[in-house]
């Protein structure tokens, strides 16, 4: 028997049926995205306007605020049910029409339009959604993340109930092993094996940690999961705790994600209230509780040993392994540390069985993977595809290709630890091993598309600037080596490159990779090495010809108009903030170098690429 207000297993089932009945009604509902992206484009006033309008029009239309829907570039995004009609870039002034259209004919002008200009009403018709398989993100845009009842209605915590009452800890671990799930933080270590080690470590006090310190620039998968379905992450953590015998857990979340922290805090409170966290969970004799720790801005704290030191209140510096966290982790106790996306998968894997999950994906990479698609691509957003899907599907079909007249040059995977894959290798499937073969890593899931105006030397310099700044300073090869690499790359970008530079970069890379303690240092040179592997000619153009083929490196540009190509349109003249472009109607433009501040505004404005 459970305490008053707390659920037992039967109570959880009853709540699910009750909530399902509430949500399963055929009454029209409006789901409005309220993730970080849509917040910034104005979803808060929009939701207020929609609610006001719904009340004014009789109150039979329900307005539900959801987490990130994934289609961030076209926010605020609204989904009308029934029908799955998608509206893009909705403004508060559209509220009257949107509410009136519920259950009827859609508002034509708010529909998504494909690149050919054709309006597509239903989400199922839009390639961005149709080609995805939402597994981890199954609840995105369908539930209110601030209401635990919504999560429960979609089978939330059913996996936990099964783990607690129908399975032994060894059985849970075996099920995880069967599923083939590998850590989604980047390294891809099998989750079941990690749990097995921690379960086997002796000790009464053990910890379960969630790594929500999503530091890779260009990655926002974990943020979106936390904002749209926080209970899935909590459920995963509790199941991990049951499996290894832990009673306390911590979520380490970066403070750059205030909305995620707010929703997590709320979710933990609700779970405690219903007896899903705390003493005797669901009336069993198992207890587990959770606390949130906020990061303070250090990339290296995403490394497991550094993260634990940071929770302990110290400088977040990695330490040598072994001992591995599974043996000696937080405060010297056996610890399991999993990433947000990994944890969000667990409840469903346990509920449906490991074999079900292993049925998706490739030989070595099972299940699905969430990617954050950004950069020079039309449909920026959050996508989830089966392992084994070619990158080209991700970029060209789901992503809708590169905007404007530009073409795709490369795709960057794995952030500062990863590499760039050139456009001609985009048929590479999303698979840990296949991606490693072309010189990148799967990483946590940031996919940054770069167009032909991206300079690969400049990108290598960008990543090295990041890495040398974030190196914790403990290992000399990483601390000093990355700084030397940055100096060399900066020199090359400034046109002061020397013939031996590439060799020195490679030599440094070899030493830093071999002699660094943690993943940050060991992978620090990957962006340089992959750029050298696929775009060596660009480096040589900078060093030998003192020329930047992509026209990005300011020091190597001449700021001259090529008269033979100039179409006399005057766009460069209009764009120049310094009044340095001299132009008159039907005249070729000319740049006054005395006045020019080298801001590149004219380069971006010129549709004919005629400024050198």
């Amino acid at each position: 028997m459970s305490a008053p207000g707390k659920l037992d297993r039967a109570g959880l089932l009853a709540l699910r049926e009750q909530e399902k009945a509430l949500q399963g009604t055929a009454a029209p509902r409006i789901f409005c995205c309220s993730g970080t992206g849509c917040h910034a484009t104005g979803s808060i006033p929009l939701i207020a306007a929609l609610r006001e309008e719904a009340a004014r029009q009789g109150g039979c239309v329900q307005v539900i605020e959801t987490g990130c829907n994934g289609f961030c570039a076209l926010g605020p995004v609204v989904i009308m049910q029934p029908g799955g009609i998608l509206y893009c870039k909705v403004r508060p002034e559209d509220a009257t029409e949107v509410v009136a259209s519920a259950g009827g004919a859609p508002v034509e002008r708010l529909l998504y339009r494909d690149p050919a200009g054709k309006a597509l009403a239903s989400m199922d018709e839009i390639p961005f959604f149709a080609l995805q398989r939402p597994w981890t993100l199954r609840n995105k845009g369908r539930i209110d993340p601030e209401k635990i009842g919504h999560a429960v209605a979609h089978d939330g915590y059913q996996g936990l109930a099964k783990a607690l009452f129908d399975m032994a800890p060894e059985g849970i671990i075996e099920e995880m092993r069967l599923s083939g799930l590998r850590g989604r933080g980047g390294a891809g270590f099998p989750t079941g094996l990690k749990w097995k080690f921690a379960a086997a470590s002796p000790g009464d006090v053990k910890y379960v940690l969630c790594n929500a310190d999503e530091g890779d620039p260009g990655a926002f998968m974990d943020r979106s999961i936390l904002e749209s379905d926080p209970h899935a992450v909590l459920e995963g953590m509790i199941i991990a705790a049951v499996a290894i015998g832990a009673h306390q857990g911590y979520i380490y979340c970066r403070s750059e994600y205030p909305l995620a922290i707010q929703r997590l805090t709320l979710a933990i409170g609700q779970a405690r209230e219903l007896g899903l966290l705390g003493e005797s969970i669901l009336g069993s004799d198992f207890s587990f509780d959770l606390e949130i720790y906020q990061g303070a801005g250090a990339f290296v704290c995403g490394e497991e040993t550094a993260l634990m030191r940071s929770i302990e209140g110290r400088r977040g510096m990695p330490r040598p392994r072994p001992p591995f966290p599974a043996q000696q982790g937080l405060w010297g106790r056996p610890t399991v540390l999993n990433n947000v996306e990994t944890l969000a998968n667990i409840g469903r894997i346990i509920r449906l069985g490991g074999a079900h999950y292993a049925g998706i994906g490739t030989e070595g990479s099972k299940g699905t993977k969430v990617f954050a698609l950004s950069g020079d691509v039309n449909n920026i957003g959050l996508v989830e595809v089966d392992m084994g899907t070619p990158l080209s599907t991700l970029v060209n079909d789901i992503g809708g290709g590169v905007p404007g007249k530009r073409t795709c040059k490369a795709v960057q995977l794995g952030g500062p630890s990863g590499g760039s894959i050139p456009a001609h290798l985009l048929d590479t499937p999303v698979d840990y091993e296949a991606i490693a073969q072309v010189g990148a890593i799967m990483g946590s899931g940031g996919v940054i598309v770069m167009n032909d105006r991206t300079c690969m030397v400049d990108m290598a310099r960008f990543f090295m600037d990041f890495i040398q700044d974030e190196s914790c300073g403990k290992c000399t090869p990483c601390r000093e080596g990355t700084r030397r690499q940055l100096e060399i790359l900066t020199r090359i970008c400034e046109g002061k490159g020397e013939p031996g530079d590439l060799r020195t970069l490679e030599d440094l890379a070899a030493v830093i990779t071999d002699a660094s303690l943690c993943g940050l240092g060991q992978t620090a040179s990957n962006p340089i090495l992959s750029a050298l592997r696929h775009f060596r000619d660009e480096f040589e153009a900078h060093i030998v010809e003192k020329r930047c083929p992509a026209k990005r490196c300011v020091a190597l540009l001449k700021f001259e108009v090529d008269e033979s190509r100039c179409r006399k349109c005057g766009l460069c003249h209009k764009a120049c903030p310094a009044g340095a472009v001299i132009w008159a109607r039907k005249q070729t433009a000319r740049i006054d170098r005395e006045k020019c501040v080298r801001c590149l505004a004219c380069f971006q404005a010129c549709p004919f690429d005629c400024i050198d």
Binding site: P217, A298, G375
Partner: protein
């Protein structure tokens, strides 16, 4: 806390969100993540620095703005992103960034 000052300083200087310098009236945070970089945040930073006489990591002489390039804010769908105090502005260009900032006294 019963900790030596050196330990406290060690922790403060390690994390980028701790600062030992006073901030301006308005804090401009410009995202320098990969997506924002690819979409031209460098030009935005340059222009803001020039227009308002503030260096990245510093504060204007009149204390109006502090300019802080920050790590990825995870709002890559809006790249390039600039956050002024608590307001997030997406898809900024050098021109629009300066225009937005004129609204903050």
């Amino acid at each position: 806390m019963n900790q030596p000052l050196s330990t406290v300083y060690g922790v403060i200087s390690f994390y980028s969100l701790f600062s030992l310098k006073p901030k301006g009236r308005h804090n401009i945070r410009v995202c320098t993540g990969t997506a924002c970089y690819v979409r031209g945040v460098r030009e935005v930073l340059d222009r803001v620095e020039r227009r308002f006489g503030v260096k990245a990591g510093g504060t204007c002489e009149d204390g109006r703005f502090s300019l802080e390039p920050v790590r990825c804010l995870g709002a890559c769908g809006l790249a390039p992103v600039m956050v002024v105090d608590r307001d997030t502005h997406g898809g900024v260009t050098p021109d629009s960034a300066c225009e937005i900032l004129e609204g903050y006294e």
